[in-house]
């Protein structure tokens, strides 16, 4: 009898939980934030029987008020508290919602960290992101740039990225909703310390329909500007509203909200904290829809508006180099992405450049950005992205991708020198995710197709550097190169060679599937590689492989060992001694 009662009560418990409403809390259970870091607190109840009759939300046992209650649909209720923060220490948020079937409960534990101001703390951060630059990508770029002494096999040197650092780490990453990341949520983790959904920028999940209204979490750059009055900026070789540049101050569930992201750059939307320096491509999101080529759905003209707001506007390399900006600089250098370094500096094919023949190098944009931002004695945060590395790894065009790493390396060399002369500056070089790239042999370019691949002793040594371009970079055309492949691919034809006019490796079959590009398969030595990805894939993909991190200057010693990507945020804040709870604007 006693046993029967126990079974019955267990059954009713199980049934009770099946009927109970579901409750979600954001920030999520287990979140770490900085004390004083702003966020939107959101509680969502679903599968409610009728409307909730009562609800109770407490923080550390004390009732929290000020929530806006909404309902996105039948059986749903939400409570939102915008723009809040927590004090240092451990906290518990408890939620109780009562509906027709009874009470449902959920709690979330959060930790708010605080940082002491160190006597020798940097006030500036230059964060370099090699998009898609995993360890293997960096390694391949070093082999091309430095190579080996063929007399004894010793490596002939390291990249600038890999030399003279004060801290070095291997970084892992993951998403809120998957263990693979995209550039948007991975960038968000670096900038907020949170796990974020794939394709989302600096927001928590929610059931909202308006992607721009999702619960926001303040970024490091936004905090630096809000509490310290620092200047913030973005430099990249992709279109300006792309996911990685958007890490600095954009907040949206959908990285393709290009117009909304462009507006947030100027302080319209999000937390309303504008960027001071923007140098990138993708003008189509900043010109009115009446201009052919615009991607906007309104007639906002940010080229004209920016100048009214006090930005110096430049549109090519000549104008950039001549500019004498006061403290705000806006540069658009292409309608879309920049062509790759090899297209701009070496091959210069009109098919690839079009009318854009006067574009700045990444190091020129970075210098001008720092020159402008450093006029603010309260400090600055600058994110510099070599964005086309990833854009060309996706279609397996490793030559274009790797030479863009060399362009990044030249840029880091300049930034290291800047940090050496300005010891209040911390320089970090890392990636947002890896690709499945690997160097497995040498390649003899006097041969074709698979016959050119040499492994083990037949790999010999690459001869890159026998000829160099005007910037001193090795030319891709040489006698012996590297054999490079990707672990995860669609169907495509391999030739082991680059091509001066880009071709997609895989094209649509017009019926929802993809096939190897027949134009590539016609090239000498080409052979078909059947893909190992879903047949609906047209390109290579991000991987779970680890990424490098190198840090230079004051605070660089904090970056050490094997760390999760969210930790980059906390260690940058620690280096700055940033305490948004105590520091007052």
């Amino acid at each position: 009898m006693k046993r029967g009662l126990l079974a019955l009560s267990t059954l009713s418990l199980a049934l009770g939980s099946a009927w109970a409403a579901k409750i979600a809390i954001y920030p999520y259970d287990g979140a770490s934030v900085l004390a004083g870091q702003r966020f939107d607190l959101r509680v969502e109840a679903s599968e409610l029987q009728g409307s909730p009759s009562t609800y109770r939300i407490t923080l550390d046992g004390q009732p929290l008020s000020g929530f806006q209650q909404t309902s996105q649909g039948p059986g749903q209720a939400e409570w939102t508290l915008r723009d809040t923060f927590i004090r240092v220490g451990e906290h518990t948020l408890e939620v109780s919602v009562t509906d027709g079937t009874g009470e449902s409960k959920r709690s979330a534990k959060w930790v708010a960290r605080a940082n002491p101001r160190l006597p020798r703390a940097p006030k500036n951060i230059i964060l370099f992101i090699g998009d898609g630059m995993g360890w293997n990508t960096l390694n391949a770029a070093r082999i091309i740039a430095k190579g080996f002494n063929p007399q004894n096999g010793m490596p002939s040197g390291n990249l600038e990225i890999e030399t003279g650092y004060g801290g070095m780490a291997t970084v892992t990453n993951s998403s809120f909703d998957s263990f693979i990341v995209d550039s948007a949520n991975s960038a968000s983790s670096i900038m907020t310390g949170q796990k974020v959904q794939v394709n989302a920028l600096n927001v928590y999940p929610s059931n909202l329909k308006d992607t721009l209204a999702y619960p926001r979490i303040e970024t490091l750059a936004e905090m630096m500007k809000r509490v310290r009055g620092a200047s913030i900026g973005v430099v990249t070789t992709t279109f300006g509203t792309d996911a990685t540049p958007a890490m600095v101050n954009a907040h949206t569930r959908r990285r393709s909200d290009y117009q909304g992201i462009a507006d947030q750059y100027f302080g319209r939307g999000g937390f309303g904290i504008p960027l001071d320096v923007m140098l990138f491509g993708g003008s189509r999101d900043f010109i009115p829809q009446s201009n052919p080529g615009s991607r906007r759905k309104d007639n906002t003209d940010w080229i004209a508006e920016s100048q009214k707001l006090g930005y110096t506007f430049v549109s090519n390399r000549t104008e950039l180099m001549a500019a004498q900006p006061s403290d705000k600089l806006f540069g658009l250098f292409n309608l879309d992405n920049f062509p790759s370094y090899l297209d701009r500096a070496v091959w210069k094919r009109p098919e690839m450049l079009g009318s854009f023949t006067d574009m700045p190098y990444l190091w020129e944009m970075t210098q001008k950005a720092v020159e402008t931002l450093s006029k603010n004695d309260k400090g600055f945060f600058l994110m510099v992205e070599a964005g086309m590395v990833d854009k060309y790894e996706h279609p397996l065009d490793w030559q274009r991708g790797l030479w863009d790493v060399l362009e990044l390396d030249r840029t880091v060399q300049w930034a290291k020198n800047y940090a050496a002369q300005n010891p209040d500056t911390l320089v970090i070089v890392t990636a947002d995710h890896a690709h499945s790239i690997s160097v497995f042999g040498g390649y003899d370019y006097s041969k074709q197709g698979r016959q050119g691949v040499g492994v083990y002793q037949d790999a010999k040594f690459p001869t890159y550097g026998d000829r160099r371009d005007t910037n001193g970079f090795p030319l891709p055309e040489t006698a012996r190169g590297i054999a490079v492949g990707f672990g995860a691919t669609p169907d495509y034809c391999e030739t082991y060679r680059g091509r001066e006019v880009y071709k997609d490796p895989t094209i649509s079959d017009g019926k929802g599937g993809y096939v190897a590009n027949p134009e590539v398969c016609k090239e000498p030595g080409a052979f078909l590689r059947v893909g190992n990805l879903d047949p609906a894939s047209a390109q290579g993909v991000h991987t779970a492989d680890p990424m490098p991190l190198f840090a230079f200057g004051t605070g660089s010693q904090l970056f050490n060992g094997l760390i999760d990507q969210t930790e980059i945020f906390f260690r940058m804040a620690q280096a700055l001694g940033l305490n948004p709870y105590l520091e007052k604007p």
């Binding site: 279109f239 829809q289 080229i303 658009l332 649509s508 590009n517």
Partner: protein, 140 residues
């Protein structure tokens, strides 16, 4: 031979003068302020032209229009949020009641040229250059 999935549409008006048009001739200049139509394109507006290119991945199941591109493309910009069209593309509108058949082969499109910004209501697709097709055939 599965070539017959290619649509052959021969409507009235055979023998009209048709001007060949290359993708490289579409725009005079592309600047950060947008694209400028070339003098040749402007002169041909409203006239019959023929262009050769590739059918891009379909935007929607029923192909009453499709995008013609200079080179074969992988990306379906409406399928993948981050992808982008190259600027030199042409929207091909099928005659009323006719649908295009998907193909990976190079095709030649003949029809009336129209230029200027136009937004498709169903897909939101913004086009700058359109051909109202009379005839679509496999390119030689």
């Amino acid at each position: 031979m599965r070539l017959m999935f290619l649509l052959l549409l021969v409507l009235g008006g055979l023998g009209w003068a048709q001007s060949p048009l290359e993708f490289s001739e579409l725009y005079g200049r592309i600047t950060i302020r947008g694209v400028e139509f070339s003098p040749k394109l402007q002169a041909l507006n409203g006239k019959t032209v023929s262009m050769t290119g590739w059918m891009a991945p379909p935007l929607k199941p029923k192909l009453d229009f499709f995008v013609l591109t200079k080179v074969p493309l992988a990306t379906c910009p409406f399928c993948s949020t981050a992808a982008d069209w190259p600027p030199d593309i042409v929207l091909v509108i099928m005659p009323p009641g006719r649908a295009a058949e998907p193909t990976t082969r190079r095709i030649q499109v003949t029809g009336r040229l129209e230029i200027g910004i136009k937004t498709d209501e169903d897909t939101g697709f913004v086009s700058l250059v359109r051909i109202y097709a009379d005839k679509i055939s496999e390119a030689r």
